[in-house]
């Protein structure tokens, strides 16, 4: 992802592993944020409140983050 600057010889293109890692991190962040929004909506509609709501939203965030992170990591990997 980072652009390689020609003037710095040391700034080589990041390795495939670094790109996959960056993709996963970014996907995980996006997935967590999306999970927080949609999860809150879903759990509130079911009628969760208080600690139960926190647990439900947290679970949705982790699931969404993991799934999204995996797919974006693969997306970065196939473009190395």
């Amino acid at each position: 992802m980072p652009v390689s600057v020609g003037s710095y010889g040391q700034q080589a293109q990041p390795s495939c592993f670094d790109r996959v890692k960056m993709g996963f991190m970014m996907g995980f962040a996006v997935g967590m944020a999306a999970g927080a929004m949609f999860g809150t909506f879903s759990c509130l509609r079911i009628g969760m409140r208080g600690r139960e709501l926190m647990g439900g939203v947290g679970k949705t965030m982790m699931q969404s983050g993991g799934t999204f992170g995996t797919f974006m990591a693969i997306g970065m990997g196939i473009r190395c």
């Binding site: 040391q10 797919f71 693969i74 997306g75």
Partner: protein
């Protein structure tokens, strides 16, 4: 996805469609491996066969869904670039919303609105994190400038030598 060099507009549609299919098929294969393994009857051979079967059947379907989404998204994106004459995050967000709406058309207008909102929000998050990431990498470059200042460490060494001579 916005961070890598993308092809010019007509060919981007093909590129994104293929990339989305590959991503969906591989990712789907990973998840279906686990799901098939768990759903199979007890026994190592049964479970391995369950994994292989689930991947063989389901991965192409998941890849196909991703390809449809990616292809339609790119088509609308290129259309907007042509119409508006500029390329910015709003194109992606609008394309995400419209793609979600179109693919939910069979479920009725209400589902279309819901899917459009979900698509738009998701693309907005992706664009937002992409922009944050760009700033982060920019700061990384600024932080790397101390490496250039390494040669300036020579004067202190000379001073140290002078101090030694003084002793």
């Amino acid at each position: 996805m916005e961070e890598y060099a993308r092809e010019p507009c007509p060919w981007r549609i093909v590129d994104d469609c293929g990339g989305a299919f590959t991503m969906g098929a591989i990712g789907g294969g990973v998840f279906q491996t686990v799901k098939g393994f768990r759903n199979a009857p007890v026994g190592v051979r049964h479970r391995l066969r369950g994994s292989a079967n689930a991947v063989r059947v389901r991965a192409p379907q998941i890849g196909g869904s991703f390809a449809v989404w990616g292809g339609l998204f790119s088509t609308i994106d290129c259309g907007l670039v042509r119409l508006r004459g500029k390329e910015d995050p709003w194109n992606s967000i609008t394309s995400g919303a419209m793609t979600g709406a179109i693919l939910a058309a069979r479920s009725g207008p209400l589902a279309m609105v819901g899917s459009a909102m979900m698509g738009g929000i998701l693309l907005a998050l992706i664009e937002g994190f992409g922009i944050l990431l760009t700033r982060y990498t920019a700061q990384q470059f600024q932080n790397s400038s101390p490496i250039v200042e390494d040669p300036k460490q020579l004067p202190p060494k000379e001073e140290a030598r002078g101090y030694g001579q003084y002793q």
